[in-house]
Symmetry: D2
Subunit: 134 residues, 4 copies
């Protein structure tokens, strides 16, 4: 299976990414780029984007990127930092960078930026690479 | 303002926590307990709970707990680990533990468990304590 | 092999823990407590304890605690926060808390405090549990 | 003060970096590259490099890189992952990448590799940027 086929299959069953209106912009082996608009139902009590939403966007980006190699990968853990906040109407992009892949684990960065290229989320996740193949 | 008043005010404006159907179970100074049911629109492409949802639950719990002291707190970063997966119909609880609070930062753990007391999310977040008071 | 035997064996080969003057205070299944004095050769350019030293103390504590169950464990990753700084002459203790252990991974907290019970390091590590037994 | 002057001043007081035999290879605004040889007194009980040593190397690299902008920066927290182990005699290099700098915080990656360009440590740290200037 090709990278784009794997991600299409994953996305078609990924109800939560669909609920958030996440769109796939580009997919390659070890790489993924996503886009999402910040809606009013994604804000927290301070009227800024809930940290869970930008994290979820980054987490989907990680999952898609890691699975493109054809082995099923599951998240072990991830860390998210918030250099700046985001508000309703912002158009966010999430883009992955493959840091390292060993037989057992993969480490990926995901950078989340707004339409003005301001970094609003810095994410790093570790996946466990199972033996299951697509 | 009391801890419970602060959290009620935050929750009433927190559209994303409402979208996820998060319920407040208990609030005290430096402490918060939340509950949420896993719905079908929260699953990812592997038919298990999307990591962004359990993270969002934990992140709301962090935000509520940290703000109970009466100073407005914003998240700097957080880390989430996934010891086990969760599935549709699970009833999740998130409970915070205050690790340390200095003048500048606060560190909180949030433990997410399912109805069988199985740990499905282990979260630690750092907040920045602004000068703004409630 | 007993928990204390495993840790004694590990410690006897652990040259770096010895270089730092780390002492084992207590060991049990899933638990470890260590002590260390801050020496002048452990300081950084700001004349406070180098972050790598308190991290190393916490990392040894994690390794010892995780291996007490009799299966060889290796660190996958860890996070360290520094709520307060530490200075020469401080007596630090590191104490572990077992958060969760599954077949594949273990998650442990380690809290590092000075002689006045002030938290100077908050650590969380994830280990991979190999099949190798002691 | 220039970037290289700031780091020279920091290094001259940094007893722990000196104890580890860390050498400064290159310094620029927002950038630092260090080198270190793995000695026998840096190994743990499994006869591989103690995780605290590669972390300390990365942490020094973070501190030097972050302070080059002329404002005194202190570490808030950091995360380290270990894709592969390292052994006696390895020559390690640590190189920083500036992810983002806001008025309040800076986020830096540090990649630690051995002489064969194998990644043995993946580090990300957050610093707090104080008002103090060099």
């Amino acid at each position: 299976m090709q990278a784009s086929e794997i991600v299409s299959k994953m996305y078609s069953g990924d109800k939560f990414s669909q609920l958030l209106g996440i769109k796939i912009i580009e997919v390659n082996k070890g790489y993924c780029k996503l886009e999402m608009e910040v809606r009013s139902d994604m804000l927290n009590g301070f009227d800024i984007l809930h940290g869970g939403v930008s994290y979820a966007l980054a987490d989907s980006c990680l999952a898609f990127a890691a699975n493109t190699h054809g082995r099923m990968c599951v998240s072990l853990n991830a860390k998210m930092s918030y250099p700046e906040s985001s508000k309703e109407g912002d158009i966010l992009t999430a883009e992955s960078v493959e840091i390292t892949v060993t037989n057992r684990i993969g480490i990926y960065d995901v950078f989340v930026k707004n339409q003005n290229d301001v970094m609003i989320g810095v994410f790093r996740g570790t996946v466990y690479r199972t033996e299951k193949e697509y």
